[in-house]
C-alpha cells in the first residue's frame, strides 16, 4: 500500500507543534498500524531525520500505552480496537491518514505523539484500591459472590487506562475511567467497607487534576477499546450522592 501521513511533530512540551507530511510506499496490508509507524521511523532514520516518538509497549491491546488520535478519532476507526490492534487492511491504498496525540488539557504533550497521563495514576492513588494488607486475607472461597456481580465487576475492571475516553470528550472528562474503577471495586463485597471514602476521594482527585465535568456526550464509551459502558458513570454518580449525603449527616450528628 502507498500512504500519505500527516503526523503531529512537537520537539517538547515548551515548543509549538505542527503537522508534517510523509509519504510511505510498500506497507503490507497485514501490518499493524504501529508497524506502519515503525516503517516510517526506519525511513526517517535512513534519511538522517529524527524519528517520531509515540507510546506503545504490549502491542496487543492490553497495556494501554498506545495513544494515537487517528483521523480525529482516539485509537482510530475500528470499534473496540486500540491503535496497536488496528491493521492496515482497514485503510485504502493511496489514503491520507492524520495522526495526532491525545488532545486533552490534563494530558500535556511530552514529545510528538507522547503525552503525560500521570493524572490517571493520581486518581488511582487517591482511592482506587481495597485496603488488604499482604498476608491478612481470608480463604478465597469464604465469601461467595454471585456470578452476575462478579461478571459486572470484571466488565468494569477491563479498563486499560489508555485515556481515549478523556481524549474523545469535549470537556476532557475522566468520568468513564474513574467510574470504571469505582464500579469494579464498589460492586464487590470486599470493596464495600471503603465504598464511600473511595468514591469521594477519587472524584476529588479527578477534579483536582483538572478533568472536566460530564455532560453526557457519550463519546468516551464510543471510543473505549474495552467498551466500558456509560452505566458505570450513572452508578458512580449514585454512589457519590449517597456518600455525600452520608457524610453530611455524620458531620451534623458529630
Amino acid at each position: 500500500m502507498k500512504l500519505t501521513l500527516k503526523v503531529w511533530r512537537q520537539k517538547n512540551a515548551q515548543t509549538k507543534g505542527r503537522l508534517e507530511t510523509y509519504v510511505l510506499d510498500s506497507v503490507s496490508k497485514d501490518s499493524s498500524f504501529l508497524e506502519m509507524l515503525d516503517i516510517l521511523n526506519e525511513q526517517l532514520i535512513a534519511d538522517g531525520e529524527v524519528p517520531i516518538a509515540f507510546d506503545h509497549d504490549c502491542r496487543e491491546g492490553i497495556c494501554g500505552a498506545c495513544s494515537l488520535t487517528i483521523n480525529g478519532i482516539p485509537h482510530g476507526p475500528d470499534r473496540a480496537t486500540t491503535a496497536c490492534q488496528l491493521h492496515m487492511r482497514r485503510f485504502k491504498d493511496g489514503e491520507t491518514i492524520t495522526i495526532e496525540p491525545w488532545r486533552a488539557k490534563p494530558f500535556p504533550v511530552i514529545k510528538d505523539l507522547v503525552t503525560d497521563r500521570s493524572a490517571f495514576d493520581d486518581i488511582m492513588q487517591a482511592g482506587g484500591f481495597i485496603t488488604a494488607r499482604t498476608g491478612s486475607a481470608i480463604d478465597a472461597n469464604e465469601i461467595a459472590i454471585p456470578k452476575d456481580d462478579s461478571d459486572y465487576a470484571m466488565d468494569a475492571a477491563a479498563c486499560i487506562g489508555c485515556g481515549a475516553c478523556v481524549a474523545a470528550c469535549k470537556n476532557a472528562s475522566a468520568m468513564l475511567f474513574t467510574s470504571a474503577k469505582v464500579a469494579h471495586l464498589n460492586s464487590l463485597p470486599q470493596g464495600k467497607p471503603e465504598k464511600d471514602r473511595r468514591v469521594l476521594a477519587m472524584v476529588g482527585a479527578m477534579d483536582e487534576a483538572g478533568f472536566g465535568s460530564c455532560t453526557n456526550y457519550g463519546e468516551c464509551s464510543a471510543v473505549c477499546p474495552k467498551e466500558i459502558s456509560l452505566d458505570m458513570i450513572a452508578q458512580m454518580n449514585r454512589d457519590y450522592l449517597t456518600a455525600k449525603v452520608k457524610t453530611f449527616f455524620s458531620q451534623k450528628s458529630a
Binding site: 491493521h87 481495597i130 478465597a140 472461597n141 459472590i145
Partner: protein, 647 residues
C-alpha cells in the same frame, strides 16, 4: 566461587516454615530507617514494593513505562495456578510441586519449587481480597480450568485477562502506598547499572527517559524484578520494551546468570505475517482445553490449503492428523509446551504446515462448538477469538485458527539462592528475571504464580533477613556521594555517548532483527553443536559491526526512544552470545532445550542426568574473556527424575 543455595535444613514440607522462624526480623519501628529499591512494577516488583511498603520500609520503585500498571504482566491471558483443590480432583501442594519439577524436566531446585506450591494458595486469597474478579460458578464460588502438563483443574482465571487483573490488584496496592508516601514511584525511568559499595548492592544508576537526565539512587538493598529476556529473539510475545538490560548489567557487576539457554517457545501463537512484523501474539494455552490441533495427513492437501485452493473445513476426518492426540494420548492437546511446540515444528518440517508461509498448524474448535454450543465457547474465549480475528482477518468460529510456536518466556535468569538473593549481597532478583522455579520448561499459569509468590510472600521475609543481618547501624549509611556512584555513572554516560557518536548507517532495529534471526535459527526450537558454534561467531561479528555502524538519531538529553532501543539491543548482543554458550555447554536435551544430537528414534528429548543435573551459572570475567561456568548440583529427594512421559 562456591555457589551456596542456602537451602534450609529439614524435610521439604517444613523448610520454609523453619526458615521463616529462624531468619532475622527487623522491628516495625526500625523499618522506616531502611530504604529498598525495587526495579520493576510487574507482578513481582509491584507486589514486592507494595508489601514491603506496607511493612514500613521506604521503597523507591522504577519502571520504564509511563505507569506501573503497564508492566508486561498485564498481557498474561490464561490463568494462575494454585493448589487449592477446590475441584476435589486430588490436587495438593505436593502434586503442584511434583508437576512443576517434572514439567521443568528435573532442572529446577526442589526446595524453591516446594515453597512456591506452598504459598500458591495464599496468593489466591490475597488477590480475591484485593478485588481481583476471578471467574466464578453460578454458586458464587471460584471456577477453575485446566492447563498444559497437569491432570487436575487448578488454574484460576479472569476471562482471558488474568494477568491484567492480577497486575491491577498489585498496582492498586502499590498505588495506595504511593498515595501514602511510603513508595516513591519513578515512571519512565530506566535502570542502566547497579552500584556496589564494599561488595554489596547499594544503589542504581537510572536514566530519566523524559529528560535524559542520569540519576543516582542509593538504598540499603536492591531488588530486580525486570522481567524476561525473550526479546533477544527480536520476535516474541513480549512487549516492545522488554529487555535484558537490568539483568545483564547486574551480571557484569558480579551477579551470576543461570541457565540462559532455557527459553520457552509457546505452541499457540498467531503465525508470522511477513517481514514487517514487530511482535508475535499469543493465543492463550487455555484454548487447548477445547481446540483440537491438527495438520492434513498428506503434503498435497497441505499445499492446496496454503495456496488457498482448499477450505480447511472440507478436509475429511480421515485426512486429518490430530498429532498431539495421536502421540500423547493421555495428555492429548494439553501436552506441555515444549513438547507441543516441537511436534508442530516437526509437522511443518515434514511439509504438512498450513498458513501461507507453511509455518502453521490448525487449532480447530469445530467439535467443541458442536458439543457445547457457540455461546459457551464464546463465553470462554470470546476476547481471544476477537483478537485472533482482528489480527488475522479470519473468523475462528467458522474456520480453524492457525497457530505456530513463538518465543514466550525465559526460564533462565539471574542466579538466586533460596532467599532470592543473587551472588551480589543485597541484590535480589524476582519474577521472570530470576531462574529459580521452572527448570528447563515452565508449565502454563505458573509464571504469574511465581511472580506473586516472590513479591508478596518470599521477599518480604528474605529482604528483612538481609537488612536485619546488616544491622540497624548500617541503615541509610550509603549515600549517592560515594565514589562508587561517581564511577558507575561515568560508565553509563560513556556508553550513551559512544552510542550517539558512532553515527553509522544501520538502525538499532535492523541490528536487532539480524541478531534475532541468528538466535532463532541456532538457539531456538532445535539446537546443535555445529549451529551454536557458528552462532557464537556470528553474534560476535554482529556486535562488532553494531559498535561501528549503528545510527542512533537524536540527543542524549531528551526523550529518545531510539537511544533506549540501541542500549537494549547492545545488551542483547552481549547476552545472545552467553545464551549460545550455555546451550553449547549443555550437551543434553531437556525441556525447551532440544539438542538434536540427543533424541530418541521418535524424536523425544533425551536428558543426561548423570552429567547435567545441575544449574549452569555463568560468571562474567571481562569483556574479551569467555565467562566462567559454575555448577549448582541439583539433588532430587522427593521428585525422583524419571523419563518425562506424557504418552
Amino acid at each position: 566461587m562456591k555457589l551456596d543455595a542456602k537451602i534450609p535444613e529439614g524435610p521439604l514440607s517444613e523448610k520454609w516454615a523453619n526458615h521463616k522462624f529462624k531468619i532475622k526480623l527487623v522491628n516495625p519501628s526500625n523499618r522506616r530507617k531502611y530504604k529498598v529499591i525495587v526495579v520493576g512494577s510487574g507482578l513481582a516488583g509491584g507486589a514486592a514494593a507494595a508489601s514491603l511498603a506496607e511493612m514500613g520500609y521506604n521503597v523507591s520503585c522504577f519502571c520504564y513505562q509511563d505507569s506501573p500498571r503497564r508492566a508486561h504482566s498485564i498481557a498474561a491471558q490464561g490463568g494462575i495456578n494454585a493448589a487449592k483443590n477446590y475441584q476435589n480432583d486430588g490436587d495438593s501442594v505436593h502434586r503442584l510441586f511434583y508437576d512443576t519439577v517434572k514439567g521443568g524436566d528435573y532442572r529446577a531446585r526442589e526446595a524453591n519449587v516446594y515453597r512456591l506450591a506452598e504459598v500458591s494458595t495464599s496468593i489466591i486469597d490475597q488477590c480475591v481480597a484485593q478485588g481481583v474478579p476471578f471467574a466464578r460458578e453460578y454458586g458464587g464460588l471460584l471456577a477453575n480450568r485446566s492447563f498444559g502438563g497437569a491432570q487436575v483443574s487448578r488454574t484460576f482465571y479472569a476471562r482471558g485477562q488474568t494477568g491484567q487483573q492480577l497486575l491491577l490488584g498489585a498496582y492498586s496496592a502499590l498505588s495506595r502506598q504511593i498515595g501514602l508516601g511510603q513508595v516513591k514511584m519513578y515512571n519512565r525511568h530506566e535502570m542502566l547499572d547497579v552500584v556496589k559499595v564494599d561488595g554489596h548492592a547499594k544503589g542504581i544508576i537510572v536514566r530519566n527517559l523524559m529528560t535524559g537526565t542520569i540519576e543516582r539512587h542509593a538504598a540499603d538493598c536492591v531488588i530486580l524484578a525486570t522481567g524476561g529476556y525473550g526479546n533477544v529473539f527480536f520476535l516474541s510475545t513480549n512487549a516492545q520494551g522488554c529487555n535484558v538490560t537490568a539483568a545483564q548489567r547486574a551480571y557484569k557487576r558480579g551477579a551470576l546468570f543461570a541457565n540462559p539457554c532455557f527459553t520457552q517457545i509457546h505452541p499457540t501463537c498467531i503465525p508470522v505475517h511477513g517481514d514487517q512484523q514487530s511482535k508475535l501474539t499469543l493465543m492463550s494455552e487455555s484454548l487447548r482445553n477445547d481446540g483440537r490441533i491438527w495438520v492434513p495427513k498428506d503434503a498435497e492437501t497441505a499445499k492446496k490449503i496454503r495456496e488457498g485452493n482448499l477450505e480447511p473445513n472440507s478436509v475429511p476426518e480421515e485426512g486429518r492428523d490430530y498429532f498431539l492426540e495421536r502421540k500423547y494420548p493421555s495428555f492429548g492437546n494439553l501436552a506441555p509446551r515444549d513438547i507441543s511446540s516441537r511436534a508442530a515444528k516437526e509437522a511443518c518440517d515434514a511439509g504438512l504446515g498450513v498458513a501461507k508461509t507453511g509455518l502453521g498448524v490448525f487449532l480447530d474448535f469445530r467439535d467443541s462448538i458442536i458439543r457445547e454450543g457457540k455461546q459457551t465457547i464464546k463465553e470462554r474465549y470470546g476476547n481471544l477469538f476477537d483478537m485472533y480475528q482482528c489480527i488475522s482477518g479470519d473468523n475462528p468460529y467458522e474456520t480453524p485458527m492457525m497457530i505456530f510456536p513463538a518465543v514466550h518466556y525465559t526460564m533462565g535468569g539471574l542466579w538466586v539462592d533460596y532467599n532470592l538473593e543473587t551472588t551480589v549481597p543485597g541484590l535480589f532478583a524476582a519474577g521472570e528475571a530470576n531462574f529459580s522455579d521452572h527448570g528447563a520448561n515452565r508449565l502454563g499459569a505458573s509464571a504469574l504464580m511465581q511472580g506473586l509468590a516472590d513479591g508478596y510472600f518470599v521477599l518480604p521475609y528474605t529482604v528483612g533477613n538481609y537488612l536485619g543481618e546488616q544491622g540497624i547501624a548500617a541503615a541509610g549509611k550509603v549515600t549517592t556521594d560515594a565514589p562508587e556512584f561517581e564511577a558507575v555513572e561515568k560508565d553509563v554516560r560513556g556508553r550513551i555517548d559512544r552510542l550517539l557518536s558512532i553515527k553509522g548507517t544501520e538502525s538499532p532495529r535492523s541490528f536487532h532483527k539480524r541478531l534475532g534471526q541468528i538466535i532463532w535459527d541456532e538457539c531456538g526450537m532445535a539446537r546443535s553443536k555445529e549451529g551454536l558454534e557458528k552462532a557464537i561467531e556470528q553474534v560476535k561479528a554482529l556486535r562488532e559491526e553494531f559498535w561501528q555502524n549503528v545510527r542512533v538519531p537524536g540527543e542524549a538529553d531528551e526523550l529518545n526512544p531510539e537511544l533506549e532501543r540501541a542500549g537494549r539491543v547492545a545488551d542483547f548482543m552481549e547476552f545472545g552470545e552467553l545464551m549460545c554458550r550455555d546451550a553449547l555447554m549443555r550437551d543434553e536435551s531437556c525441556g525447551g532445550h532440544f539438542r538434536v544430537e540427543h533424541q530418541t528414534d521418535e524424536g523425544e528429548a533425551v536428558r543426561d542426568d548423570e552429567n547435567f543435573a545441575f544449574v549452569g551459572a555463568w560468571q562474567y570475567v571481562g569483556e574479551s574473556e569467555a565467562p566462567t561456568l559454575h555448577k549448582e548440583p541439583l539433588i532430587f529427594e522427593a521428585a525422583k527424575p524419571s523419563v518425562r512421559s506424557y504418552k
